[in-house]
């Protein structure tokens, strides 16, 4: 769901609402006020109810199959993401010690283009949110990084370039500078098998 498209939908409906309210307000000028006008608006209730049911029903039916939750696809690889005030550690290997956490939080991670990656996200202290932005600054996807839980986020990384990870759940005074990133590299088909092994740490 493209955010700008959603914004446009909101804007159009919002302008319609404003127009209706303006029209209603203007209608009060010099009005005598009769029961017929009151009843006329009341007669809209049933069609409006049906319209809302239909529109919301269609929106529901269209969007429920498009939830971001894992649906049984087998990812190409897994990246372990651990959040801690105020840094993320990303690694293709499990993070098993403080040293590995520190190393993973500074060592660059590279992923081959086009891969379906499962991010296994958790936190070591408070709630964070793991949000991935593509090289053009578009939010690709997110999940909560919860202490005591691991959330599985699947993303297909089609564009090569530098991806940014931002924390999207307020976690303290340095929340706005809690960030990480990884690079998605182009891989030619012939070299893809070799590169897959080379890119893994």
């Amino acid at each position: 769901m493209d955010p700008m498209a959603v914004f446009s939908v909101w804007l159009v409906i919002g302008l319609v609402v404003i127009a209706v309210y303006a029209w209603m307000a203007v209608s009060t000028r010099g009005a005598a006020g009769d029961e017929a006008s009151y009843q006329a608006v009341g007669r809209i209730r049933r069609p409006l109810f049906v319209l809302m049911l239909v529109v919301l029903g269609i929106l529901f039916a269209f969007t429920i199959p498009r939830t971001p939750y894992p649906k049984g696809q087998i990812p190409d690889e897994v990246v372990h993401a651990v959040g801690k005030q105020f840094q993320f550690a990303l690694s293709s290997q499990p993070i098993r010690s403080d040293e590995e956490f520190l190393q993973a939080s500074v060592k660059p991670l590279k992923i081959a283009q086009g891969r379906l990656v499962e991010f296994r996200v958790t936190s070591l202290d408070v709630n964070h949110a793991f949000a991935v932005y593509d090289p053009e600054g578009k939010l690709l996807g997110q999940t909560q990084a919860m202490p005591g839980y691991v959330n599985r986020l699947l993303l297909r990384l089609d564009k090569p370039g530098n991806y940014t990870v931002l924390c999207l759940e307020y976690c303290g005074l340095s929340h706005h500078i809690m960030r990480s990133g990884f690079e998605v590299v182009e891989v030619s088909p012939a070299a893809s098998r070799f590169s897959e092994l080379a890119l893994r740490r």
């Binding site: 909101w10 009005a31 006020g33 939830t67 600054g137 959330n151 986020l153 303290g172 929340h175």
Partner: protein, 495 residues
């Protein structure tokens, strides 16, 4: 109240007078707290726009302001709208104002504690999402978390007391089935049920449940505080969002309660309970319990069925709002000789804000859309629409109505029009910047925006211009309604 004795009638009149005083006091609190908390909001947006970069205030002030601004305005919204609803309800049921005064006093104590915490730069955000208040990475002193827990406890007691008093007062006059309007569903409109009684009953039941959730949440915070053991954060998150979501929705419903009662005095057409309204509000009582799941869509640990129920309930709550309240407001206005004053204009336009904010909310409560909008400024956009140009308009309209009714002071029409125009233009311009920021995936609650999302800084700068219009509008409102307030106060003292 046909069976009331003479003594009972005198007592009723006395309670009415005390109710007017209480409403006037809360009006003053609104006119005091709204500008202060609003100025904190101005500081927040100014910080984000980087125009304060030269002065470089410590980032702890930013997050402390964010915390107090959010907590304060949610609290003000809930309490002032509640008192407004009680004010109109008091025509139909006898409230014990002593309980309400006690709750008022306790609320003030809670607010003072929160302000003290602000000065100590306690900044867990206004969600205070567990375990952040206790794990600050050195951001705030640990004793400020203790002060916060005390403040929560005091506010919880205050609000539980007056919710229970509300139930008691309604129950003293109406059986539950009547108070919920079930007799209308059986085709029997007698006895006539004032709409505010129906709304107040729904709000009271939901309010008690929400506050009990707050009690459970507080207990978990205390377990962590005194044992050092980590409680399951997902359980506490569920309780926190259930409490918060229901509370802020109730605030809006309180506003609708006094809208039903007050607007007919301007439109000249009664707003009566009917079958659609009864069905709508009974559905709302049920649906509002489940809609809060939309705050946890990005917690993949929540079961799938819970997420789907959240989307259904969120969609569901939009329908009664639109087909009963919004449509009802428009029917009150269409081709009627409405007496347009500051009060009636704000009441009318407040429902428009609710509708527009509701569209943004319905979109964000769609899981597939929430995936891209969760914790971006879209969230701030929709609730600022609900609140600033929705509920705040309703509350300002109530106070304008109350002070005029009690004082009899003539309205300065030009000033009233200027106030409405400034609040409208400033308010919608302000929230539009949030919507645009959300559409560009700018995160919420960031003191400064990263270079990849510089558009957030630019839009914050534009938002400031609109905030200044709102500030001017509120200033003019304080001048206009302030003089009415003092006149009303003098009139009450004289009577």
């Amino acid at each position: 109240m046909a069976e009331m004795t003479i003594g009972g009638a005198q007592e009723f009149a006395g309670e009415q007078a005390r109710m007017r005083t209480l409403a006037l006091v809360w009006s003053a609190l609104l006119m005091l707290l709204l500008p202060i908390l609003g100025l904190l909001g101005l500081f927040i947006r100014a910080y984000q726009s980087q125009i304060l970069a030269e002065a470089a205030p410590d980032v702890s002030w930013f997050y402390a302001s964010l915390t107090l601004h959010g907590l304060g305005l949610v609290g003000v919204s809930y309490t002032v709208s509640f008192v407004g609803m009680l004010y109109v309800l008091s025509q139909h049921v006898q409230l014990n104002t002593r309980v309400l005064w006690l709750s008022t006093a306790l609320t003030i104590v809670g607010v003072v504690l929160l302000v003290i915490n602000f000065l100590l730069r306690f900044a867990p955000g206004w969600y205070f999402l567990y375990p952040l208040p206790f794990i600050s990475a050195g951001g705030w002193a640990s004793y400020t978390a203790d002060i916060f827990l005390v403040a929560l406890a005091v506010l919880g007691v205050a609000w539980l007391l007056w919710e229970l008093e509300l139930i008691r007062a309604i129950a003293a006059r109406y059986p539950l089935s009547q108070a919920l309007g079930w007799h209308y569903l059986k085709g029997n409109p007698s006895p006539e049920l004032p709409p505010v009684v129906l709304v107040a009953t729904v709000c009271a039941i939901a309010g008690v449940i929400a506050l009990l959730a707050a009690v459970a949440m507080l207990i978990f915070f205390l377990v962590h505080r005194f044992t050092g053991s980590m409680v399951d954060p997902l359980v506490v998150k569920n309780l926190t969002f259930f409490f918060g979501h229901v509370l802020i929705n109730l605030a809006m419903y309180h506003g609708i309660g006094f809208l039903y009662a007050l607007f007919p005095t301007y439109s000249g057409h009664a707003w009566k309970t009917a079958v659609p309204m009864v069905i709508a509000w009974n559905c709302v009582l049920f649906l509002v319990m489940f809609a809060y799941f939309h705050h946890l869509y990005m917690d993949f640990a929540q079961p799938m069925w819970v997420q789907v129920v959240g989307q259904i309930a969120s969609y569901g709550t939009a329908i009664p709002a639109a087909v009963v309240t919004i449509l009802g407001t428009l029917a009150q206005v269409y081709r009627r000789p409405v007496r347009w004053t500051l009060a009636s204009s704000l009441l009318f336009l407040g429902t428009m804000g609710w509708a527009i904010g509701g569209v943004g909310a319905v979109l964000d409560s769609t899981i597939a859309i929430n995936y891209r909008f969760h914790n971006t400024l879209w969230v701030a956009a929709h609730f600022h629409t609900y609140l600033l140009v929705g509920l705040v308009f309703l509350m300002l309209g109530f106070v304008a109505h109350l002070t005029q009714e009690l004082s009899g002071v003539a309205e300065r029409v030009g000033l009233a029009r200027a106030i409405v125009a400034l609040l409208l233009l400033g308010g919608y311009g302000f929230v539009m910047m949030f919507y645009l920021s959300g559409a560009h995936s700018v995160p919420r609650r960031y003191a400064l925006y990263p270079f990849e999302l510089e558009i957030g800084t630019t839009l914050a700068k534009v938002a400031l211009l609109f905030v200044l219009l709102v500030v001017l509008g509120v200033l003019l409102y304080l001048i206009e309604v302030g003089r009415r307030w003092f006149a009303a106060y003098a009139a009450l003292r004289a009577s």
